[in-house]
């Protein structure tokens, strides 16, 4: 009887989820603007690119050769410089709270001007506490397998006197270490014979038949650092909280042998945004809602860039103006709930091991 009942329930509740194939969808590449001006000193960037079709998300292209200018509400104007393909920089300006800014973009081959709506910079408030706790995920047969992660939460306040639209983003950094000097190659005399040492040139070692491994310089590929950026929209929920935010989950860091080779450094940026940009991120967040059977109808995400002479021309993206408050937390390998395996035996240059890895040590490390 129990088996019978099980079958009933499995059939009914189990259901199934399948990919939905929609017929051919017409596609037209659109300009995408991704810009941010903060109240921090240093460089501020705008990236211009094109949208990609759904069947080929990586086919986006950068848009270079554009003229971009920044304007404030008291007549100030600054011009961006293209530093790499489609990436534009401005470095002699710092946003001021209370002031409004907008940008104007003119593409290389087009006379049209794209403009952002004015964005007023507001206070970012404070991050009062940043802390992590271990979260356990069980899976596998009889829940016999466990995975762990650190959930990083914050408590924060905003500027209760003014508009209070907040967004958070994170930058995680970790180190990995490999042993490229221990690399080997097959023995040409016989495939069965022991392999011959073949240290990578960047390891600082060479192999000599007589002397074996000999250190001849500094290893430039033994230690690398990887930077991870948040890839989801994290915004303050103003609907159920007021001016203080408690236990806001801002990052989930898987605990594995790479990320916790030594330690993991997480920087959390609390950014004030205009209501318009907040709504942009709110709509992006609504897209992130996973398959609820009552998922709301997903709608268009509207940015704050428009074609000054053609309202029919659609432009994606936003130009945001944010005051930023930063807080960091460092999580150690010893904080992990279980002993993690070592990276011994990895002989590839570290920057080949994980995409985006660099051997340039971050200043805060």
């Amino acid at each position: 009887m129990r088996i019978l009942i099980f079958v009933w329930i499995f059939l009914v509740v189990g259901g199934c989820i399948s990919s939905l194939e929609i017929g051919p969808v017409p596609f037209k590449a659109r300009l995408v603007v991704d810009g941010l001006l903060t109240d921090q000193p240093g460089q501020h960037f705008i990236t211009l690119s094109t949208s990609a079709p759904t069947h080929s998300p990586d086919s986006t292209t950068r848009v270079s050769g554009a003229s971009i200018s920044l304007h404030d509400d008291v007549g100030g104007q600054w011009n961006y410089t293209e530093v790499t393909n489609g990436r534009y920089r401005i470095s002699d300006v710092q946003g001021v709270v209370g002031r409004s800014y907008h940008i104007e973009i003119q593409l290389d081959d087009e006379p049209v001007v794209y403009r952002s709506t004015p964005q007023r910079m507001t206070n970012a408030g404070e991050i009062s506490d940043l802390y992590a706790k271990v979260k356990t995920f069980t899976h596998g047969p009889e829940n016999s397998l466990k995975d762990y992660s650190f959930e990083v939460n914050l408590n924060a306040t905003n500027d209760s006197k003014g508009e209070h639209f907040l967004r958070w983003r994170t930058v995680g950094t970790y180190e990995i270490g490999t042993q490229p000097e221990l690399a080997t190659k097959p023995n040409p005399s016989s495939p069965m014979a022991p392999e011959i040492p073949d240290p990578h040139p960047c390891s600082g070692y060479v192999y000599d038949d007589d002397d074996g491994l000999v250190r001849v310089g500094q290893c430039t590929c033994c230690q690398c650092w990887i930077t991870e950026y948040s890839s989801s929209a994290i915004i303050a929920d103003n609907s159920v909280t007021q001016h203080t935010y408690s236990d806001v989950l801002v990052a989930t860091i898987p605990i594995d042998k790479f990320r916790f080779y030594r330690k993991y450094h997480l920087e959390v940026q609390q950014m004030s945004v205009s209501e318009e940009v907040y709504r942009f991120w709110q709509r992006v967040k609504s897209q992130e809602a996973t398959g609820s059977i009552f998922q709301a109808n997903i709608s268009k995400v509207k940015g704050n860039i428009y074609n000054a002479s053609d309202s029919e021309d659609i432009v994606f993206g936003v130009f945001a103006v944010s005051a930023v408050t930063t807080e960091t937390i460092t999580l150690l390998r010893s904080d992990a709930p279980e002993l993690l395996p070592s990276l011994d035996g990895l002989t590839a240059p570290c920057y080949q091991l994980i995409r985006g890895a660099t051997n340039v040590k971050p200043p805060f490390w």
Partner: protein
């Protein structure tokens, strides 16, 4: 005798060709009605004409007054119209008057046959056969009741042999014109024995008849009021016996799912809550249980209907041509009447299924005076879920529990007064995870007094209270909260019905709404959830209505009326004013007005004309037309296609105008020459103003300023519905096809607010093609094989058409709203039904139902959604709740 008549007739026809002179005699004006016999005698004296007849044939025949001269032919034709007497000319001067006895012979033969078949024959004489009333037609009215509980029985076919037929209405009443003389009246109704009335009709009369209930069910699939014998277009009655003989989902008899096989009715997805009528949304359907609106008609998020089949008496569904009696919802009315307990014996019934069991018991509290019926259903699915927890981990934290119940107490105060007390309750608990609990509840109570004030005037007064609410709890300490939402709606209804040549219905309905639109309470000290309470909203809706049903001619019947509704949004409350010339957004508030308790914050009112026509093209065909305007003052606020667990109802206010629907329906109904084959087609066009659409990315729940999240739009629906039924024989069935569109337009006051740039787009409920086929094959009188095939176009949806990236976050650009569609829906269900023996005296009458739902295991989408396809970008997926064939077995019984 017959041979003689034939010879005479032959002679007559032969001679009539050659001479018309005598029949052309001008008869002087008759200032008053005179006996024909006297006129004939006078004519014989004045002219060279002779009449041959038997005196008793002409005793009752009168010639009506006419101020103008007539020819003898005109006079005789008029005098004999509606009788079985005719005349013929012989030898230029003689007129032979002949009485055709074939009808009388047929009547006698029918009565004799009925007697041999042991049918109940009742002799009724109305008026004095010897009286000399000049009229040839009389009006027969009456009411038909069940012998079991004296309840009026609707849908009884009342056929005057060789003259015409009608059916009883929901109050068991009928009205038909009958020629003077002797007739056979045949009463037929499924689940009742046939009854024959030997009627002598010599005056207008009102009769009361009882019919005897029968355990055997006739081989008919579904009596629909779309037959040519009723006057209203777009009206359907659904019988529980037919639903019980149809395939079921997990053995649960479901009145709403049965409704979804009707033309023009559909649903947005598998097991979705509610139903959609002619392109309308779920909230546009008025579902009444004993006159009280029921807001949530489903259990378990739409898997099952919230009505126990054994408490349901009559179910009538209007999807157009809505009578003036009903209002408040713009698309349809589903009127469910609870059964009454038997006034003489106690009976019980019940059913055992995979998911739930139900039981009903009813009988007399005092014989022939008062009765009670109590019914209940409860799920035991949670027990089942518990049983499998160790085997299936995904269910570890899921639980599902529901129950519903109803009762009805009826007390006959005297012959013309009846008092009724009824109640209904349904409750759902649904836990998805350890810390999330949904609860829904419906309560409906009604106290009603029926009184016959005069023989032709009937009054009903009802005091009702309804309540709908849900709560949603999260016990995760960091965000623990309770969310409560409820609507309480007491109402008063007073209705009058007057019979006669003009059947009048008029009354007053008034409902007071108390809406707690949402209360969010933190459940723990650690919870970072704020205490949010959206203030209570109060509103009052009052309506007066009157309608008149009358025959403009023998062929044309009209039901015309209007309803006047008055709506007040009452304080206390706040109305925000927004910057002129700017979008209604929270940041554009410039002022607010605070209203105290009882203050009128906003008033709407409107006249709602209703019209229903039926023109009888022939005894087997009719043309029908219906028009209605309806105002709807309540709106279901949602941003999902299916009804979601936490959707809220919003009363009309300063910013949300009442929805106003205008619908025209035209129908052609025909019984084909082959017995039992019926066909009808209906076309409709419906415009609904002020439908609410959500703004892109709007937050609806616990929003104090919902006007900033919603937009007003217009809905246009049109289509054609066709139905072909076979209602007799071993194989019976119906094929329904609907071709329709449901479109919306939201121009918005500002460009950002316009949906799809203000152009028309398909609504969530736009399903151009809907096909339903249901059939039942009677293997024997106790064994049936039945099936249902359903097909409809997939509902519209928006899909991602481009991807990009902002600050490392993937973003999808979506198509215009509802530009694409989910896959089409189709499903086949079959069932094998074994009913108990049909002996009248038995202890228990049991029925086994073996069902196979979704026979060919179609993975129909319940929901379309988007999730990360693994590269950070959204991809569309569909959830098929039922991905395979679902066999089930259930047992129901009655005693």
């Amino acid at each position: 005798m017959k041979s003689l008549l034939i010879v005479i007739c032959f002679i007559c026809f032969s001679l009539d060709v050659y001479s018309q002179d005598v029949l052309g005699i001008r008869v002087q004006p008759t200032p008053k009605s005179l006996p024909l016999k006297g006129i004939i005698e006078a004519l014989e004296k004045e002219h060279e004409v002779r009449f041959f007849f038997r005196e008793e044939w002409l005793e009752d025949i009168m010639v009506h007054a006419d101020p103008y001269p007539r020819t003898l032919r005109e006079l005789l034709e008029e005098a004999f119209t509606g009788t079985d007497i005719s005349f013929h000319l012989i030898s230029d001067f003689g007129i032979v008057i002949i009485k055709d006895r074939s009808r009388e012979i047929a009547r006698e033969e029918y009565l004799y046959k009925a007697m041999l078949q042991k049918k109940v024959i009742e002799k009724i004489t109305l008026g004095d056969p010897l009286s000399r009333v000049g009229r040839k037609q009389f009006v027969l009215t009456g009411v038909i009741r069940s012998d079991m509980n004296r309840d009026p029985v609707s849908q009884v076919s009342v056929e005057i042999l060789n003259h015409g037929a009608t059916t009883t209405d929901t109050e068991g009443r009928f009205k038909i014109e009958v020629p003077k003389g002797n007739h056979v009246v045949q009463l037929k109704r499924n689940n009742y024995h046939d009854k024959v009335v030997d009627l002598a009709m010599f005056a207008d009369g009102n009769i009361s008849l009882t019919i005897e209930s029968a355990p055997r069910v006739l081989d008919e699939v579904e009596i629909s009021d779309q037959s040519i014998t009723t006057s209203r277009v777009s009206q359907t009655s659904i019988r529980i016996i037919d639903i019980k003989r149809a395939p079921t989902f997990l053995g649960e008899v479901d009145v709403i799912k049965s409704l979804q096989t009707q033309p023009g009715v559909t649903t947005v997805g598998e097991v979705a809550s509610g139903f959609n009528v002619r392109g309308g949304s779920v909230d546009q359907n008025l579902v009444l249980f004993e006159g009280v609106p029921i807001f949530n008609t489903s259990h378990a998020l739409g898997f099952f209907t919230a009505f126990n089949p054994d408490i349901i008496g009559n179910t009538t569904f209007y999807r157009g041509g809505i009578p003036a009696e009903f209002g408040g919802r713009v698309s349809s009315v589903l009127k469910i009447t609870a059964r009454e307990g038997d006034f003489r014996r106690w009976h019980g019934s019940g059913g055992i299924g995979i998911i739930s069991s139900y039981a009903t018991i009813g009988g007399p509290i005092k014989t022939d005076t008062s009765s009670l019926i109590v019914s209940g259903r409860t799920s035991y699915s949670n027990w089942m879920l518990d049983a499998v927890k160790s085997n299936y981990n995904s269910l570890e934290n899921t639980s599902l529990r529901f129950f519903d119940g109803g009762l009805k107490y009826t007390h006959k105060v005297n012959a013309g007064t009846k008092f009724m007390l009824s109640g209904y309750v349904s409750h759902d608990d649904f836990t998805l995870t350890d810390d999330t609990l949904y609860q829904w509840k419906n309560y409906a109570f009604s106290m009603r007094l029926d009184k016959t004030l005069k023989p032709d005037l009937f009054a009903t007064a009802a005091l009702n209270v309804g309540h709908y609410g849900y709560s949603f709890s999260d016990s995760d300490p960091l965000q623990a909260f309770d969310l409560d939402y409820s609507i309480t709606y007491p109402s008063l209804k007073v209705d009058f019905n007057r019979n006669g040549k003009h059947s009048l219905a008029f009354g007053l309905h008034s409902t007071y709404y108390i809406m707690q639109s949402g209360e969010l309470k933190p459940r723990s000290q650690e919870s970072n959830v704020s205490d949010i309470r959206i203030p209570q909203e109060h509103a009052m809706e009052t309506a007066l209505y009157i309608s008149d049903e009358f025959a403009l001619s023998n062929l044309l019947t009209v039901e015309a009326g209007f309803r006047y509704s008055l709506y007040n949004r009452l304080g206390k409350g706040i109305v925000y004013q927004y910057k002129a010339g700017a979008p209604i957004e929270t940041y554009n508030v410039v002022d607010s007005t605070i209203y105290n308790s009882g203050d009128v914050m906003k008033t709407y009112h409107g006249l709602e004309p209703r019209l229903s026509l039926r023109y009888e093209l022939s005894p087997t065909a009719s043309f029908k037309m219906g028009y209605n305007r309806v105002y709807q003052y309540l709106h279901l606020v949602t941003n999902t296609a299916a009804v979601a667990p936490v959707d809220i109802w919003q009363v009309s206010n300063t910013y949300f105008k009442p929805q106003r629907a205008d619908q025209v329906s035209l129908g052609y109904f025909r019984k084909l020459d082959k017995p039992g084959i019926e066909f009808f087609t209906e076309a409709f066009y419906k415009v609904v103003e002020n439908v609410l659409e959500f703004k892109d990315g709007a937050r609806l729940l616990l929003n104090r300023q919902l006007e900033t999240a919603l937009l007003n739009g217009t809905s246009h629906s049109y289509g054609i519905e066709m139905s072909l039924s076979k209602t007799t024989g071993r194989l019976i069935g119906t094929l329904n096809y609907t071709l329709s569109r449901s479109l919306r337009r939201v121009p918005g006051a500002f460009q950002d607010e316009a949906i799809n740039d203000g152009k028309q787009y398909p609504s969530n409920f736009d399903q151009p093609h809907i096909l339903n086929v249901n059939w039942r094959y009677g293997i024997s009188r106790r064994h049936f094989f039945s099936g249902i095939f359903t097909y409809h176009t997939g509902r519209p949806m928006s899909v991602p058409i481009a991807l990009y990236n902002v600050d490392g976050v993937p973003v999808a650009d979506f198509s215009n709203r509802n530009e694409y569609r989910i896959p089409d829906y189709h499903r086949l269900d079959i069932a094998f039904i074994i009913e108990g023996n049909h002996r009248k005296k038995k202890l228990l009458d049991g029925t086994w139902t073996f069902s196979f739902y979704n026979v060919y295991a179609r993975k129909n989408p319940y929901s379309a959604f988007f999730k990360d396809g693994g590269d950070g970008y959204l991809k569309p997926y569909t959830l098929s709740v039922i991905g395979t064939v679902i066999p089930s077995v259930s047992y129901s019984f009655k005693f």
